[in-house]
Symmetry: C2
Subunit: 149 residues, 2 copies
Amino acid sequence: MPTRVALSAEQITALQEYEACTAPAAPDARVERLVTELIERVADKWTMLLIEVLTEKGELRFTRLRECVPSISYKMLTQTLRSMEREGLVARTVHPVIPPKVEYRLTLLGLSLSAAFCGVWMWAEKHIAEVEQARTTFDRARDCGTVPE
Amino acid sequence: MPTRVALSAEQITALQEYEACTAPAAPDARVERLVTELIERVADKWTMLLIEVLTEKGELRFTRLRECVPSISYKMLTQTLRSMEREGLVARTVHPVIPPKVEYRLTLLGLSLSAAFCGVWMWAEKHIAEVEQARTTFDRARDCGTVPE
DNA sequence: TTCAATATGCACCTAAAGGAGAGTGAGAAT
DNA sequence: ATTCTCACTCTCCTTTAGGTGCATATTGAA
């Protein structure tokens, strides 16, 4: 049972209400392109990692977020958050105090993407051993020259 | 009803048998890292696009594959296929004829990833209008200086 | 005989991603 | 008076992604 990105009961309820009112787009060629382009923007590692921690921890401020994803640099954190805000995935709340305080949380749209990503995380967790097996098999075959380099 | 990556009945049957025999890994910190790294490798746009057409069309040879994904260059096609083969997602069959004939198809592992990606494609199809709305709202706010650039 | 077809490999180049580190501004703590 | 905090921004630099174009071996078709 994966602990990653498992949604809470409240999250699921909110999501169900939300999904009920959203309509899919008509499937033509222009939409195809938009969908592909959207996938390209959204399926990157920083976005996936940030969505994961925001799903898990709820609202977080900039520095806390950074602590939860230690491998990200300030630059990429800012950049990714800004992009996610633009796509409507996160909401940014500025508290006008000194020192500054800015909080980030997922919107419902962001939460719905989190639910979609859940399947991919679970896939990775479940199949990692097979992938490692495949890698060693492939590398061994390559060392024997059975396979292109 | 999205036409993208909808699995066929046979695909679903094969997948169910397969998933029943695969075990998830134990959830510790080392596994966390491996999972994240795996996600990083697998969640890139070329891999997603190739998995999509291979799910849809079944077995394809190199040039056909290229025709189905016109935006990819030969270099990236080769590179991505090789990487997918190493991860165990596709099987590569060489027919020793002249001119050469090489066919690619998804393994069961690849098909299971395809099923996991399905949710993300459907999310994108369903929510694209909201994302576009969010973008224009954000850009307008930025033009008014309400939001950082 | 010359040509086309196939699945790459290789070399060179540009563009984009990403990292490191310094700077900022105002108030609260020392 | 000085220092510390936060949420950035800016600049400079390195690394990686990705594109373009050429080379190849072989054989059946023109």
